[in-house]
Structure formats: structure tokens, C-alpha cells
């Protein structure tokens, strides 16, 4: 068991390193694309600034508080995207028949599709999210107790795991549909856009759905309620604010099950 995990981690690192070296052979292109990622997501935040040139608060949250939500959501999505973003190309690989090649290699299929064309340029998005997150932590007028400080890495780790699971489910569905990678976007990019704003702006039913059905609210909303000391619009027990690991574990379990079913169902293509 330990050996297998070690072998997979090793394989992932080797593949990722290979793709980093590939991207480094076109340095200018790499620099431009990284900058592009930084700017794209940067304008995202400028849009929020534009909104705040017209209002002082959204859903009872100030600009710095929303910057904290935005930064947390952007960082978690960015990290998940860096680790396995190209998994969404699974459908394309199925259509081209190149999944078969991966299946005969002595390394887990999942590890291979995750590391496929590993794109270090995604650091651009992570850097932008990190910048906003860092600024908000600096600008927030909070009493940084040990519990609050500890909650920040907690938020980032389990938020990333939740997005990893969502990416995986979105890709695994392509074993059935093969051409609907855009469907997953609604949950990954849609989910992160949604989590950039306080959930108080959405109807209560939506918050419930985001808690109990697609647990995006555990990415940054519940941990942030604790850190920012805000009331919970659903009035759930305080324990909910620490329940991100439960949500992450449940969702990962579902993701693993869907992925395995998908792989087992896969029947190759072509003549």
C-alpha cells in the first residue's frame, strides 16, 4: 500500500518535471502565458473593485472581507488547477484513443491524466490569488488569535481537496459523455466564482444546496465565517465551521467511486 502510493507520487513528480522542462524550452511563451494568467484573474478582482466604486458593502461584507473570500477561493481553485487541471481533457483523449496508451503503462491512469501537460504557468493565477489574499489579511482589522491563524492553512488545504474532487468528478463523467468538458466548468470555475462572494447574497435554498449537495460552501465560506467572526445565515451549529475535512473526505470518496466506475466502464474507441 505504502509502496504503491510512493510509486504514484514519484511517477507524478517525474511526469510533472518533464512537462516543466518542456515548457521551459519556450521561455518567452512561458513568461507571457504566466503573465496572461495573472492578468486574466487580476481583472476578475478589478471587476469587484469597480462594483465597490458604486457600493460600500455587498451582502453585509466590506471590500477587505470580500477580498479574503476571493483570495481563498482563487488560491484553492488555483492549487487544484495546477495539480490536475488538464484532467478535463480526458474526453478529448478518449475521442483520440490515447487513453489506451496510458492504460498499458505501469503507472496509475489517474496519476497520468492528472500530470498530463502539467502547466507551471498556472502559478500566475495562484500568485494573483495569493496577492489579494495576503493584502486582505494585512488590511483586515482582526484580532489574530492562534485559532484564527491556524484556520488559514486549514481553509487552503481542505478547500483545495474539495476542488480536486470536483475536477475529478467532472472529468470522470466524460467516460460516459466524452464531449462535455464544459459541464465541469460550471462546478469548478462556477464554484470558485460563486465562493468569491459572501453566500449571503444568494437565496437560502442555494446556500443549503451549496452546503449539503455540492459542498462548495466548505471551501472558504464556513472557515471564513469563523475567521471573520460573521453570523451564519443558516444558523447551523458552530461545528459546521470546522467541518471542511468531513466535506472534503465525503466528496473525495464520491470522486473515487465515480472515477473507478468510469474506468471500469471504458471500452476504448476506434475500429
Amino acid at each position: 500500500m505504502v509502496d504503491r502510493v510512493a510509486a504514484n507520487v514519484c511517477g507524478y513528480a517525474l511526469l510533472a518535471w518533464m512537462w516543466i522542462r518542456v515548457s521551459m524550452s519556450y521561455r518567452t511563451s512561458f513568461a507571457l502565458l504566466t503573465l496572461g494568467q495573472f492578468l486574466i484573474t487580476g481583472l476578475d478582482f478589478v471587476a469587484i473593485l469597480v462594483m465597490f466604486s458604486n457600493v460600500d458593502a455587498l451582502g453585509g461584507f466590506s471590500l477587505t472581507e470580500i477580498a479574503f473570500l476571493y483570495g481563498g477561493s482563487a488560491l484553492c481553485l488555483g492549487l487544484a488547477d495546477l495539480l490536475l487541471g488538464n484532467i478535463e481533457r480526458l474526453g478529448q483523449r478518449i475521442r483520440l484513443g490515447t487513453v489506451d496508451q496510458m492504460m498499458v503503462r505501469p503507472l496509475s491512469l489517474y496519476v497520468q491524466v492528472c500530470a498530463d501537460e502539467f502547466a507551471l504557468r498556472r502559478l500566475g493565477r495562484i500568485a494573483q490569488g495569493g496577492l489579494v489574499f495576503g493584502w486582505s489579511i494585512y488590511a483586515l482589522d482582526l484580532d489574530w488569535t492562534a485559532a484564527r491563524v491556524a484556520m488559514v492553512p486549514y481553509l487552503l488545504v481542505f478547500g483545495t481537496v474539495i476542488f480536486l474532487a470536483i475536477f475529478t468528478i467532472g472529468a470522470a463523467v466524460q467516460f460516459w459523455t466524452a464531449e462535455s468538458s464544459e459541464l465541469a466548468n460550471a462546478f469548478t470555475y462556477g464554484g470558485s466564482t460563486l465562493a468569491q462572494f459572501p453566500l449571503t447574497i444568494y437565496p437560502t435554498e442555494a446556500i443549503k444546496a451549496l452546503t449539503f449537495v455540492v459542498p462548495i460552501a466548505f471551501v472558504n465560506w464556513y472557515p471564513s465565517l469563523f475567521i471573520l467572526d460573521k453570523p451564519d445565515p443558516l444558523h447551523l451549529p458552530t461545528a459546521t465551521q470546522f467541518a471542511a475535512p468531513v466535506a472534503a473526505a465525503l466528496l473525495s470518496f464520491v470522486a473515487a467511486a465515480v472515477w473507478r466506475t468510469g474506468v471500469r466502464r471504458y471500452r476504448s474507441t476506434g475500429s
Binding site: 502565458l33 471587476a47 466604486s53 458604486n54 455587498l58 464531449e179 459541464l183 447574497i201
Partner: protein
């Protein structure tokens, strides 16, 4: 002349049909547009709750704008894509040589093809999320038939302006061979300055005037203001005139760039 027009129709028709083959992708896209439409609507509702007259819109205007935005994303190909992407790929492989010796204008051929694509995307990725939005929210609709006509004209012009911009981006491949970097950057500008991220009327002070003078304003802000009845009488003519102006300027620029590229192309192999 008549044969050229019928050729353009034939090209547009086939382009329309080509895109209509990918049904599952279309449904997936409609779903994604609807989800984003919902998220953006609630964001705008929160903004207009705090400031009920922000940018001269009321909350129903703002929500309508959100859904119009979702309807226009694919129609004007904000993220690029469409016929101009084909051109960039054909420049890279050298297939563009075939396009260049066809006895018809390359620009006309690709514009017709892109209009066919836009027609398909408007009727599917445009209409379906809009209907969904109309079922969930109270939206504003054009006041009379004349406004519908103005809006229709404005949407066609939105596509031609966007085609002009995307064509220039793709033509950069004649010199750079790979247009990925430029395309990326162009998409960032289009996304932000079309008013898709946040309406241009919300931009503070003079930045709003600047943004509304750039070609990207034609993509969404201009058609949306016509739909919402923000432009009346002579203002409608001015708004459409603005789009016509950018269409002419950009297509002229495309024409000049393609003429230069024509002299530059070296066909290899044999």
C-alpha cells in the same frame, strides 16, 4: 455580385450546420451559461440593493444585462474561437495557401463563416440561457417591435466588430506563426472591456467614457442598452453608428493586413 452573395450564404449555412453537430457540447454549454447567469444575477442584485440607481440602471435592468451577457458570450466569441481560429490554424499548417488562391475574398469567406457560427450560437447558447433567466427572474424586454429590429441589427454588428478584432489577432500568426499568446491577451481585453465582467456603466468617472469608446463596447454594452431602452431616438442611431464605424475601421485594417500578409506568405513543400 449575386453569385458572391449566394456563395456567402452557402458558406454561412455550412458553418451553421458544422457547429450544430456537437449537441452534447451545446447542452453542456447552455448549462454552464445558465449557472454563471444565476451567479452574476445574484451578485448584481446585491450591488443594486445597496445602490438602486448604480450606473443609471435599476435592478431589473441589471439582471437583464447579466443574462444578455451570457447570451452574447458565445455569439460574439468573447473567448475567441470561431472561424478566425480556423484561419490561425491554417496559417500554421500552410493550408492558408489554398484560401488565398480561391477566386473569392478571404475576408468575405471567413466573415460569412463566422456569421453562420454566430447564428447557431445565438439560437442555442444565446436563446436557451435567456429563456432560463426569464423564467427565474423578472427581466426587462424591448418596448416595441422597432426596438427588436434595432437590437437585431446591433447584434449582427456586434459579431462583425468582434470578427474584425479576432481576425487581426489571427492574422498575427502570419508573422508570429503561433497566435496563442496574442489570443490570450485579446481575450482578457474582450472579457473586461466588453462589460461582461461588470457593466461598463458602472466604471468610475472617465474610465467609463473611455471603455465605452473602445471597440469591445460593441460586444455587449451597446446591444444591451438598446434592448433596455436606455438609447432612444437619435441615440439609437448614434449607438448603431458607433458599431458601424468600428466595423468599417476594423474590416479595413483586416483588409490591409491580409494584403501585406499575402505578399509575405511563402508556400513551402511541393
Amino acid at each position: 455580385m449575386r453569385s458572391t452573395v449566394s456563395l456567402w450564404f452557402a458558406v454561412a449555412h455550412r458553418s451553421f450546420r458544422r457547429y450544430s453537430t456537437y449537441r452534447a457540447a451545446t447542452f453542456a454549454g447552455i448549462f454552464t451559461n445558465s449557472v454563471f447567469g444565476l451567479i452574476i444575477s445574484f451578485t448584481y442584485i446585491a450591488v443594486w440593493k445597496q445602490n438602486p440607481t448604480a450606473g443609471g440602471y435599476d435592478v431589473a435592468d441589471a439582471v437583464t444585462y447579466a443574462w444578455l451577457g451570457q447570451a452574447m458570450i458565445m455569439t460574439v466569441a468573447v473567448w475567441s474561437g470561431g472561424a478566425t481560429d480556423d484561419l490561425a490554424a491554417r496559417i500554421k499548417t500552410g493550408d492558408v495557401a489554398i484560401d488565398l488562391y480561391r477566386p473569392v475574398s478571404l475576408l468575405g469567406w471567413y466573415l460569412a463563416s463566422d456569421l453562420g457560427r454566430a447564428g447557431y450560437h445565438l439560437l442555442t447558447r444565446g436563446l436557451a440561457p435567456m429563456i432560463f433567466g426569464a423564467l427565474v427572474f423578472d427581466l426587462h424586454y424591448p418596448a416595441n417591435a422597432l426596438v427588436w429590429v434595432h437590437f437585431a441589427v446591433s447584434v449582427v454588428l456586434a459579431v462583425t466588430v468582434s470578427f474584425g478584432v479576432r481576425m487581426l489577432v489571427s492574422a498575427s500568426a502570419f508573422w508570429l506563426l503561433d497566435d496563442t499568446g496574442v489570443k490570450h491577451l485579446a481575450a482578457v481585453f474582450a472579457m473586461f472591456f466588453s462589460g461582461l465582467a461588470v457593466p461598463l456603466v458602472l466604471f468610475p468617472g472617465w474610465t467609463s467614457d473611455v471603455a465605452q469608446a473602445l471597440p469591445w463596447a460593441s460586444y455587449l454594452q451597446v446591444p444591451a442598452d438598446i434592448w433596455l431602452g436606455k438609447d432612444q431616438g437619435a441615440d439609437v442611431l448614434a449607438a448603431v453608428g458607433f458599431q458601424v464605424l468600428w466595423t468599417v475601421v476594423l474590416l479595413l485594417a483586416c483588409h490591409l493586413v491580409l494584403a501585406r500578409a499575402n505578399r509575405k506568405v511563402v508556400v513551402q513543400g511541393g
